[in-house]
């Protein structure tokens, strides 16, 4: 199998209308079960509230009262970032999480033993364990559809092209042009999120155009893959292991009394 170009999502939140077609299309195509009893959150139109084992697209709704311009409504469809340095994949002890030929990160359901390590490892809180099933689930970037040359279900269903699927390099170019045109149109707050390969996750396979700080959308402002610090962590572990052995040996100085 030869690896093709890296595929990904560019989610342009400036044209998201909050229709949630992406959430529905994802659930339908991937046969993702209901993620709990139907309930209203009280937080604008967002009753999904977060990504999870049974929510692979999540539309956020933010209502902002701005003194100068009145009410502003921000909507954004969140998804797994398919990180270049993917902590979930790296900490997975079974090899269930792997990198596909499209550069995406996918869980093999027939391998996952539900250890749950990937869950707190993800800096975005994307992946989660399905309690009744016991295994971890997340967005696959529609691995099956990609095999057949189709775009992922969410991108296909998006009526405004807020979700754009394609080769990552090309999406980056398109996104930069879009930010430039927004800036020229006076939308100074438009910015790209996770497009930079020098960031703490080595760049993402799914990046975003946002109209406010990432944390306003529930995204970490400067995510870092935990495994970046592994050399330091393992050094400390080795030192502590040696210290424990030394403490045991030292206890025998002075004989059995």
């Amino acid at each position: 199998m030869t690896a093709g170009p890296r595929m990904g999502f560019f989610t342009d939140t400036s044209v998201c209308i909050g229709c949630k077609a992406c959430e529905v299309a994802c659930k339908e195509w991937n046969m993702v079960p209901q993620d709990g009893p139907l309930s209203l959150s009280g937080n604008s139109y967002d009753n999904t509230m977060a990504l999870g084992a049974s929510t692979w697209r999540h539309v956020a709704f933010i209502e902002q009262q701005r003194d100068d311009q009145g009410l502003r409504w921000l909507m954004s469809s969140d998804v797994c970032k398919h990180c270049s340095s993917a902590a979930c994949l790296e900490v997975c002890p079974t090899g269930a999480l792997f990198r596909t030929e499209f550069g995406t990160v996918v869980v093999q359901a027939d391998v996952c033993n539900g250890c749950g390590y990937c869950v707190p490892a993800c800096p975005f809180g994307v992946i989660d364990r399905r309690e009744d099933d016991g295994r971890a689930f997340k967005c696959t970037l529609c691995y099956d559809r990609l095999h057949d040359g189709l775009e992922p279900a969410c991108a296909k269903a998006c009526p405004t092209d807020s979700i754009q699927f394609g080769e990552l390099d090309e999406l980056h170019e398109r996104a930069r042009r879009r930010v430039d045109s927004l800036h020229q149109a006076g939308v100074a707050e438009a910015r790209l999120y996770l497009e930079d390969e020098r960031d703490g996750i080595g760049g993402a396979g799914a990046f975003f155009l946002l109209l406010d700080e990432p944390e306003v959308y529930g995204l970490p402002p400067d995510p870092v893959s935990t495994t970046r610090d592994l050399p330091t962590l393992w050094r400390a572990a080795a030192l502590a292991t040696g210290t424990l052995a030394a403490a045991v040996a030292a206890a025998f100085v002075g004989g059995r009394r």
Binding site: N113, P120, R129, E215, V216, D222, L244, F252
Partner: protein, 331 residues
């Protein structure tokens, strides 16, 4: 679904400054004005682990340090202490493995832990250590009790005794290798906290199960282990600074205080009891065991409290970005 009401500045504050409910932020050491959030919702997921995990940390620590104690006791010719230590090591492993298996979402797939070996996954490394050390420790304990296969038993003791300290410390690195701030940022201290806690618990178990005349090394191990545990926990809290808030609040705060009190008092009693006042030493050993268990639970619970509140994610990451911006401006 009802139509959105006019923004009243109370409920619809998703994108405002200090977006978390005021009650959560009040009294916090992290400055409120510097952080925004999405309806105060967590950014990272809380672990899905349950009570088995901190209990496994304790059992694995006890088994690992006991195996080390058993090996050195054997080499030193203290066979009575070696017997106690190997029994504890065998029991720790026998309790630890079922705990580890039952916490899995698919327990029958436990063997998949050994499908691959990954240094990027402390759980993978730990599983391999346990796979080698566990049967060796259990075998050594059984062989010692039955007095069979003496040569094989010595070889098993060597394997288990040498791998034991790694089994006791890897769990600290396991939790540190996550996005949970109170765990990740303490990655340099956590293996030492767990090492000290494991040494103290192994020493305490040996004090309880060995005639006082042979238990000198175990008593000394209790004291050095307790000092290491308390010192490393102190260093961890100092390193964490404001991120260490969970160790002073809620269940984790209570457990951390209880752990310190039990460990310090217990170690003091063991030292004071010495060889002659056996009841005092035994009481101290029991307290040290309780302290060691509470310490693991404190770390475990602190992780949940840390993951739940977005301020622990946003505030340090914002500070990091601001620092980077300052550096760029200076260049």
């Amino acid at each position: 679904m009802s139509a959105p009401a006019a923004p009243d500045g109370d409920r619809r504050d998703g994108g405002r400054r200090g977006g978390a409910p005021a009650s959560r932020v009040r009294g916090s050491m992290v400055p409120e004005a510097e952080f925004r959030s999405y309806y105060g919702r967590p950014i990272i997921k809380e672990p899905v682990w349950t009570w088995e995990v901190p209990c496994y940390f304790f059992a694995g620590g006890l088994a690992g340090a006991s195996a080390s104690l058993g090996l050195v006791a054997r080499l030193a010719g203290n066979h009575r202490l070696a017997r106690s230590a190997w029994t504890a090591a065998g029991a720790g492993v026998a309790a630890g493995v079922p705990l580890l298996v039952s916490d899995l979402g698919r327990p029958e797939r436990f063997p998949y832990m050994l499908r691959v070996f990954k240094v990027t996954s402390p759980l993978s490394v730990g599983s391999w250590v346990l796979a080698a050390m566990g049967p060796a420790a259990a075998g050594a304990a059984v062989a010692d009790r039955l007095g069979v296969f003496p040569r094989l038993a010595r070889a098993a003791e060597a394997v288990a005794g040498l791998l034991g300290p790694a089994l006791a410390t890897y769990t600290g690195t396991l939790v540190a290798d996550t996005a949970v701030p109170v765990w990740h940022e303490a990655g340099r201290e956590l293996p030492f906290v767990f090492a000290g806690s494991a040494a103290a618990s192994a020493g305490a178990t040996a004090v309880l199960s060995t005639p006082a005349a042979d238990a000198g090394p175990a008593r000394r191990l209790v004291v050095t282990g307790a000092l290491l545990e308390l010192g490393a926990a102190q260093a961890m809290e100092r390193r964490l600074g404001e991120l260490g808030e969970p160790y002073h609040q809620g269940p984790a705060g209570r457990l951390a205080r209880l752990a310190k009190a039990c460990t310090a008092t217990g170690a003091g009693l063991v030292a004071a009891g010495g060889r002659r006042r056996r009841a005092l030493a035994a009481t101290g050993a029991a307290l040290v065991l309780a302290g060691s268990m509470c310490e693991r639970w404190a770390v475990y619970k602190a992780g949940f409290q840390s993951a739940r509140d977005p301020k622990y994610i946003v505030a340090p990451q914002r500070a990091r970005l601001a620092e980077r911006e300052r550096e760029q401006l200076q260049q």
